[in-house]
């Protein structure tokens, strides 16, 4: 198991490990997310396949296991919240929201078409299930922190998960929020960095190195964990564990080691696929590979 933890206070029992059936279900939902992403991008004729593929197992674990949600009730006030800095991965979230009954599945069929609520970036004013709009990289951790701080004045009890890209670590506002969350003991805030290694201009470590990332978050006062973000069992277990940890006094960051484009071989080795389009003939082969890998 590629799970490490650096806090003595974190529970050590293995009671958070998902069952084989759960792992199988979450893998199947991750495949569903990838296949739906290919289907929706076929409508738009352009999209961010690889940004979804690196996060598919994390999305699956969060929405189908870890987060406290009610199907069909996206506005439930006690729900766990999710904010996302890499908003361009929304195409992989919309199918989940439709699947959870947050909006009609037919909406997906009009993805990005004139008047659709569903665009490349998620819009909280238009899309039930989107807890905060995204598109400007670097805001999401602050937005999520605000939702956690609000608990003081609403009495609601929930967790806020915030996914950020690794290129997003280059935004100064992230570190403003990191300081602020530690200062205010935001124990219900859980950040997840999708460490897929690439940004638009190339390898993150070449464009603007962000390492040592774990030490940075730790130095900012956060509890830090690292996990293989494609290992469904390990990712789910870790997310369950940090969600349940009532002893933690401050915020928690999970660095998820992932592969950009995971699931389609040529996307995994070519960073240019950050944005792209698969002709139906190529999509067919990609779908076949996704199905074969996770069978």
């Amino acid at each position: 198991m590629a799970l490490t933890t650096d806090t003595a206070s974190a529970p050590k029992s293995n009671s958070f490990a998902p069952s084989e059936e759960t792992v199988a279900m979450l893998k199947e939902r991750a495949r569903f997310i990838r296949l739906e992403t290919i289907r929706l991008i076929e409508i738009a004729k352009t999209g961010h396949y690889t940004s979804v593929f690196s996060a598919a197992e994390i999305f699956s674990a969060l929405y189908y296991d870890v987060m406290r949600l009610r199907r069909g009730e996206p506005g439930w006030s006690s729900r766990d919240r999710f904010t996302i800095g890499k908003g361009h991965a929304a195409v992989g979230l919309f199918p989940i929201y439709a699947d959870l009954g947050f909006f009609p599945k037919e909406w997906l069929d009009g993805y990005t078409r004139l008047g659709s609520p569903l665009g490349d970036h998620p819009d909280m004013r238009k899309v039930p299930g989107v807890d905060f709009s995204s598109g400007s990289i670097g805001h999401a951790l602050s937005n999520g922190l605000g939702m956690v701080l609000a608990q003081r004045w609403t009495g609601e009890d929930y967790k806020v998960f915030c996914m950020m890209g690794d290129g997003e670590m280059q935004e100064g506002q992230v570190w403003e929020a990191a300081l602020c969350a530690a200062r205010h003991g935001a124990r219900n805030l859980i950040a997840i960095v999708d460490r897929n290694g690439y940004q638009l201009d190339g390898r993150v470590d070449d464009v603007m190195n962000i390492e040592p990332l774990d030490e940075k978050w730790r130095a900012f006062g956060w509890e830090v964990h690292t996990v293989d973000g494609h290992d469904v069992a390990a990712t789910t277990e870790l997310l369950r564990r940090v969600r349940a940890d009532d002893d933690r006094q401050g915020p928690c960051c999970i660095i998820a080691r992932t592969v950009k484009g995971k699931g389609v071989s040529y996307m995994e080795t070519e960073p240019g696929w950050h944005l792209g389009y698969l002709d139906p003939s190529d999509a067919e082969a990609a779908i076949a590979e996704i199905n074969a890998r996770e069978a």
């Binding site: 006030s77 904010t83 909280m124 004013r125 807890d131 905060f132 709009s133 598109g135 400007s136 805001h139 602050s142 937005n143 999520g144 922190l145 605000g146 939702m147 956690v148 701080l149 609000a150 608990q151 003081r152 004045w153 609403t154 609601e156 100064g172 506002q173 403003e176 929020a177 300081l179 602020c180 200062r183 205010h184």
Partner: protein, 326 residues
């Protein structure tokens, strides 16, 4: 150091005692909490400049210190607002309306969250602190953001009235306020309504439309000119957006000349907003936009700057007189 300090000596945390004008922001917020509104406040390391230290003393659990992180403060406030709590976040106008402009656009306005943004020490009221601390662009940036109301009270009493009125306003608001030393225009019974101007005087020759600290000077100027036999009106356009079109158009129907006065660049500010209304309606009046004329302000003590840029009573009077004779 032995013995007491001279009464002339002062330090930053004593600003409240030296400047009771700072109390109005906190007073307004304290009243909202007392009235049962779930209101919180935060500031980016300037609680003694904006007087929120008083609010923080009364309601320590409702005050959020953000440190020097304006962008984070605005985005956090938006997150708070999604949960049914109304945040008021404050810092110098130059920092909130320019440095955090994009966060205001995306997280507050586009996301339609009822965040209250307080830009204080606006215009050139920070005098010799210089351009980094001046805000002569904030009306322009804030009013061009869709769905964001822009309010510029003339004094502390009107600010308190605007804060009270905000309780019934579920949209985001930018409050453009001074440094707490604005000359008093209103008594304690000041009123404020979004989209409604306050007409102080009606004039047959000229109407001065002003906002913020310029209202006091505009009134002084109009009274002096009227004493000379002129007929000059004054409108306080505290609600810059939504703007009171009817007040502008009825004044335009009455007097052939209109003059705007603002502690802001004449591009994009109150003068531009008034010009848009007049042009849209083909009102056909002569308009003089007075303010900072597309330049970065000099540095000097604020009152010296107001005199230099003719934004005090005497200056507005001289600009108006020239305009009347043109």
């Amino acid at each position: 150091m032995t013995g007491p300090l001279s009464p002339n000596s002062w330090q930053y945390r004593g600003l409240n005692a030296a400047n009771p004008g700072l109390d109005h922001l906190s007073n307004g917020l304290i009243d909202l909490v007392k009235a049962g509104h779930n209101v919180v406040a935060g500031s980016a390391d300037l609680q003694y400049s904006n007087g929120l230290n008083r609010f923080a003393t009364v309601y320590p659990d409702r005050y959020i210190p953000f440190g020097i992180s304006e962008q984070n403060m605005v985005s956090v406030a938006a997150g708070i607002a999604t949960c049914g709590v109304t945040p008021f976040v404050a810092t110098f106008a130059s920092f909130i309306a320019l440095l955090a402009c994009e966060q205001i656009r995306m997280d507050v306005a586009y996301s339609a969250q009822p965040v209250r943004l307080i830009g204080h020490h606006t215009g050139i009221s920070l005098g010799f602190y210089g351009t980094s601390h001046h805000a002569t662009e904030d009306i322009a940036t804030m009013r061009s953001i869709a769905d964001l109301s822009v309010v510029s009270p003339a004094d502390g009493a009107q600010l308190e009235a605007a804060i009270r009125a905000s309780a019934e306003h579920d949209r985001p608001i930018y409050f453009r306020i001074g440094r707490g030393r604005d000359p008093v225009v209103y008594d304690r019974d000041a009123t404020f309504a979004f989209g409604r101007a306050h007409e102080h005087l009606q004039g047959e020759e000229l109407t001065i439309v002003a906002c913020g600290m310029a209202v006091h000077g505009a009134l002084e100027a109009a009274r002096a000119l009227n004493a000379e036999g002129r007929s000059v009106g004054v409108i306080d356009m505290a609600s810059i957006k939504p703007i009171d079109r009817d007040a502008i158009l009825s004044a335009a129907a009455r007097a052939r000349r209109m003059m705007t006065v603002e502690e802001h660049n004449v591009l994009g500010g109150l003068g531009a907003a008034v010009a848009e209304v007049l042009t849209d309606e083909g009102a056909g009046v002569k308009l003089k936009r007075h303010g900072i004329h597309d330049e970065f302000s000099l540095i000097a003590p604020p009152t010296h700057l107001y005199a230099h840029y003719r934004l005090d009573g005497a200056g507005i009077r001289s600009v108006a007189r020239e305009f009347l004779m043109s």
